[in-house]
């Protein structure tokens, strides 16, 4: 449990750095999806308490982890897939229009 929160911070920072500096659009989408995965890891980590069991109570347990962040994370996972699909469709559309994947080139060609 010691390394989890620094790892989450490092993952979010790396994803945003990739979004800021990379030129290829698909690579920017990869950065965004890594940030989303880090947030899912955060939702899993703040629900965990030591020696807790999973919230599926087929018999009475003493300590159970928090089920609410897990439900929210389940919502987040499905929405990630939808947004990724929409972004990829936009990339295909932009490539058909401008014949390039470089975002600086597209910014120059516009107008």
């Amino acid at each position: 449990m010691v390394l989890v929160f620094p790892a989450i911070a490092v993952l979010i920072s790396m994803g945003i750095y990739a979004v800021l500096t990379q030129k290829n659009m698909i690579r920017i989408i990869i950065g965004i999806s890594i940030v989303e995965s880090a947030i899912i890891l955060l939702l899993g980590a703040i629900a965990y308490i030591p020696e807790g069991v999973a919230p599926i109570l087929d018999q009475p347990y003493d300590t159970v982890v928090d089920p609410l962040p897990q439900a929210l994370g389940l919502t987040a996972v499905v929405i990630n897939a939808s947004t990724t699909a929409i972004m990829l469709a936009l990339v295909i559309k932009l490539y058909n229009r401008y014949q390039t994947l470089d975002i600086h080139e597209i910014r120059k060609l516009r107008g």
């Binding site: 490092v10 790396m14 698909i26 899993g44 999973a54 982890v65 439900a71 996972v77 990829l88 295909i92």
Partner: protein, 79 residues
């Protein structure tokens, strides 16, 4: 004992994220993203969140890779 496994998994997770973000070729990044999701699934299992792990395994390790690969194939075959 499970702490050591968790630390090893998190190191591998950060390493695979670094490969996925800063690799030279685009296809390597997309391929490595599936391993990133698999490591995330194991960490979520250790955190006792089987529902979240199942959704992550289904969507991020399975469907998203096909989306990315068909996008790459469509954006290079136009010329």
């Amino acid at each position: 004992m499970i702490e050591i496994i968790l630390m090893l998994l998190i190191l591998l997770l950060v390493a695979s994220a670094a490969i996925a973000l800063f690799s030279k070729k685009l296809l390597n990044s997309i391929i490595t993203l599936s391993i990133f999701s698999a490591l995330l699934v194991i960490i979520l299992i250790i955190f006792q969140a089987p529902d979240l792990a199942l959704a992550e395994a289904v969507i991020a390790a399975g469907i998203t890779t096909s989306f990315f690969i068909i996008t790459i194939n469509k954006t290079e075959g136009v010329k």
